[in-house]
Amino acid sequence: MTRRRRAGIVLAAAAALVAACSSNTAGSGGNATGGTSGTGTAAKVKVAFVYVGPVGDAGWTKKHDDGRKELEAALGDKIQTTFLESVPEGAESEATFERLAREGNKVIFATSFGYMDQMLAVAAKYPDVVFMHATGYKTSANMGTYFGAAEEARYLSGMAAGSATKSNKLGYVAAFPIPEVIRGINAFTLGAQKVNPNVTVDVVWTSTWFNPTTEKEAAQSLLNKGIDVIGQHQDTPGPGEAAEAAGAKWVGYNDDMSRFAPKAWLTAPMWDWGPLYIKTVQDVMAGTWKTGQYYGTMADGLVKLAPVAESVPADVRAAIEDTQKKIISGEFAPFTGPISKQDGSSAYAAGAKATLEELLKMDYFVKGVNGSASGKG
C-alpha cells in the first residue's frame, strides 16, 4: 500500500512572505521553557519526528532519520529526540500529533504530505509548539513547511544517464502525476539532452511511493522496450535491481543505493535534512523561529548528488561537477530556455528562467519525454 504523500508548495513566494510576517506577532516556541515536567534537572528541549514508514536502511525515511541523528550530534544534551515510525497518514494521525504535543515536545517534524490537515488542527490547539511539515502547503503561526529543489540534482543525474545510454532511449519509473514528479522527469530529460541531444525518456506510472515489486516490474517493462538507462522517483531499489539484471544502467533516488545494484548504479539525487533540522531547532531555542515555506536548494546543502559512478566517462563527470558548481553559485538553473514542451510548443524562450511558482505548478512534459503528464497510459 502506498504510504508516502508529498507535494511541492503551492503558495507563491509573496504569500509565504505574508505568512512569515504575520507570524512575527504570534510568538513561537520560546526558549526551552522546560515543558510541564516538575523535575529539577536542566530541561531538555524535546523534538519529535513522525515518519510514514519504517526507517529501514535506505530511502526517504532513512534520510530524515539521518537528519535527526545529525541534530542529536550537533545539539547533544540540550535536546531529546523521539521518532515514531509507520504512522498512518490521514485522520488517525491526529491523535499521534496531539500525544506528542502533550508529552511536552517543543518541535514536531512530520515528513509526509498526508499529515497536513491533522497537523494543522493540532497546531491550532498547541500554539507553544512548533510544527514543521515536509512537502505540504498549509501553514499557520506555529506551523511551517519544508521541502527542496530535487530537480537541480535530477538535472545532473540526467547528464550521467544521457552519457550512459547506447540506445538513446531512457526510461523513468514515475510515482504519481503531480508537479513534483513531473518537474523531476523534465529536469532529468533536460540534463540528459544536454550531453546527448538525441535521447528520449519513456515514462511509466506506478501510483506508488514504496512498492518494490510494482516498481521493479515497471522498470522491467521499460527494459523490455530496449531502454538501457532507468530513472525513478520511488523509495525502493526495485528498478535498480531490474536494471542490474538486464545489464542496464540506473539512476536512483534519495540515497546512495549503489550497493543494491553496483554495476547498474550511476548516481542519484539525495536529501540532507540535517542542517535544516539543526537550524530549525536552534531557532526555536533562541526564540527566533518564524513560520514560512522553506524550499531548500543545492546551494543550501539540502539537495545533493550522490557520488557519480566510475563507469561515467571522466569528461562527463567533470561536466557534471562543473554544472553543479554553477547551480550552487546561481549561475545556472536547470529550467532555462529554450525549452519546448512535448507537443513542440515553446515553454521558455532562450535565456528565460522558470520561476519557483511555475516550477511548483508544472503539469506538462518537455520535448523528448514519451508519456502522458496527466498519468494516463
Binding site: 500500500m1 502506498t2 504510504r3 504523500r5 508529498r6 507535494a7 511541492g8 508548495i9 503551492v10 519529535a48 519504517p54 523521539t82 521518532f83 515514531l84 515510525e85 509507520s86 504512522v87 498512518p88 497518514e89 490521514g90 485522520a91 488517525e92 494521525s93 491526529e94 491523535a95 499521534t96 496531539e98 500525544r99 506528542l100 502533550r102 508529552e103 504530505f113 498526508g114 490547539k125 512537502t135 502547503y137 504519481f176 503531480i178 508537479p179 513534483e180 501510483s207 511548483l360 505548478k361 503539469d363 498519468g375
Partner: protein
C-alpha cells in the same frame, strides 16, 4: 515416548467458557508478548503499563481509543453478522471503501444544501447503500451460484481500493479537489455533513451511532424472525430447507446486511474523521481488523463493542509506546500483539469446543 494430543468434543458448553476463551486468549497473547519484550530487552511491566495508561487512563487517551474503536465496531459487526452464519465475508475493507465513496459523494453533493441532521443522514444512508451495492455480487454469487464468498469478497476489496485510488489519484473525478494541484486530494464534504465530536476530543456522535447500531444488530439477531432465520440457515441449511426458510434469500440478505454495515463504517469514517474521500487515511486495514474483533467477540454484537475498544486502545497506544522515555518499543510490537491475540483466540475456541487429552504413545509401535 512421544505425546499425542487427542480432542474430544465437549458435550456441555458452559456459558462462561465463551468469556473464558477470549480472556485467556488475550492473557496468553500478552504473556507471549511479555516474553518477546523481555527477550528484546524491554521491561514488559513498564511497557504494558504505558500501553494501558496511554489508552485507558486519561480522558484524552480514552477518547482517542474510542475514536479508533468506532470504525472497528462497525467492521466488527459487518464481519460478525456474516461469520456467525458461516458466511465468510472478509471484504468489509472493500465495503468500507465503497461506503466512503458513496458517503463522501453525498457529503459533497448534497451536504451543502441540507440542514445538518439531513446532511449527515444522507452520508450515512448513501454509505450503507454503497456497501450493499459492493456486497451485492458477493451475496448474489454466493446465494444463487454457490461461489465462494471468501474469494469474491477479497477480490472486491482490491477493486474497492483501486477504485478509490483512481477516483482521487488517477482521474479528475467528482471526488477530487480541483483546488489542490500539487498532490491529489479528496474534496472536503460540507460541514453540515460532519458527525460532531465531543468538544475538543476526537470521539463524538459517530461512536454513539455505532453503539446504537450494535444494539440494533443484537436485537435483530436475538429477537426477530430475520435473526432467527439467519441462525437456522447458518447453523443448519438442511433444517432451513426442512422448515421452509428461504435460505438463498436469507444468505443474500445477510451478506447485504454485512456489506451495508461495512459501508456504514466507511460513512462514519468520512463523516466523523476523514471528511473527504482519503484513499490513504481510509486504507488502515480497519475492515480486516474487524474480522479479528468479531472473532474475539465470538460474533456477539455487544461483545464486539468491548473487544473493539480493547483493540482500539492497543492500536492507539502504538504511538505512545514508540515515544516511551528510555524504552522505545517499535510500532510492530503492538501489531504483533494484535496478531498474537487473534491466533490465541482461534486456539482458545478449540478448548471451548473440545476437551484436550494428552496421550502417551511409544515412539515405535512395531
Amino acid at each position: 515416548m512421544n505425546l499425542r494430543i487427542r480432542l474430544e468434543r465437549r458435550m456441555h458448553q458452559r456459558w462462561w467458557y465463551s468469556l473464558l476463551a477470549p480472556t485467556s486468549a488475550i492473557v496468553a497473547a500478552l504473556c507471549v508478548g511479555a516474553v518477546f519484550l523481555a527477550v528484546k530487552g524491554f521491561d514488559p511491566v513498564a511497557v504494558y503499563r504505558a500501553l494501558f495508561e496511554a489508552s485507558f487512563t486519561s480522558l484524552y487517551g480514552i477518547t482517542d481509543s474510542l475514536s479508533v474503536a468506532t470504525p472497528l465496531i462497525m467492521t466488527g459487526l459487518a464481519a460478525g453478522i456474516a461469520f456467525r452464519m458461516n458466511l465468510f465475508n472478509i471484504g468489509a475493507e472493500g465495503q468500507l471503501y465503497a461506503g466512503a465513496i458513496a458517503g463522501s459523494w453525498a457529503g459533497i453533493a448534497l451536504g451543502k444544501n441540507l440542514p445538518p441532521v439531513l446532511a449527515v443522514t444522507a452520508v450515512l444512508v448513501l454509505s450503507v447503500l454503497g456497501g450493499m451495492l459492493f456486497a451485492l455480487p458477493v451475496a448474489a454469487f454466493k446465494a444463487y451460484l454457490g461461489t465462494n464468498e471468501i474469494i469474491t469478497s477479497l477480490m472486491l476489496t482490491f477493486v474497492g481500493l483501486y477504485l478509490m485510488r483512481f477516483l482521487i489519484y488517477g482521474s479528475t473525478s467528482f471526488w477530487r479537489d480541483p483546488a489542490v494541484t500539487n498532490f491529489p486530494q479528496g474534496k472536503k464534504i460540507a460541514n453540515a455533513a460532519w458527525l460532531p465530536l465531543f468538544g475538543s476530543y476526537r470521539t463524538g456522535w459517530g461512536l454513539v451511532l455505532v453503539v446504537l447500531v450494535a444494539f440494533a444488530v443484537w436485537a435483530l439477531v436475538k429477537y426477530t424472525k430475520v435473526g432467527y432465520d439467519m441462525s437456522v440457515v447458518g447453523s443448519s441449511p438442511a433444517a432451513a430447507r426442512y422448515a421452509g426458510i428461504p435460505s438463498k434469500r436469507v444468505v443474500l440478505g445477510a451478506l447485504l446486511l454485512s456489506g451495508g454495515l461495512g459501508g456504514l463504517a466507511g460513512g462514519v469514517e468520512v463523516a466523523s474523521r476523514a471528511h473527504a474521500l482519503d484513499p490513504n487515511g481510509l486504507a488502515l486495514g480497519l475492515g480486516f481488523s474487524g474480522i479479528v474483533v468479531a472473532a474475539l467477540a465470538r460474533y456477539h454484537p455487544l461483545g464486539i463493542i468491548v473487544v473493539a475498544v480493547f483493540l482500539g486502545g492497543l492500536r492507539n497506544a502504538g504511538a505512545a509506546l514508540q515515544s516511551m522515555p528510555g524504552q522505545r518499543v517499535p510500532a510492530e510490537v503492538s501489531l504483533m500483539l494484535q496478531g498474537a491475540i487473534l491466533l490465541f483466540a482461534i486456539g482458545a475456541e478449540i478448548f471451548v469446543r473440545y476437551r484436550l487429552h494428552l496421550v502417551r504413545r511409544p515412539a515405535v509401535t512395531k
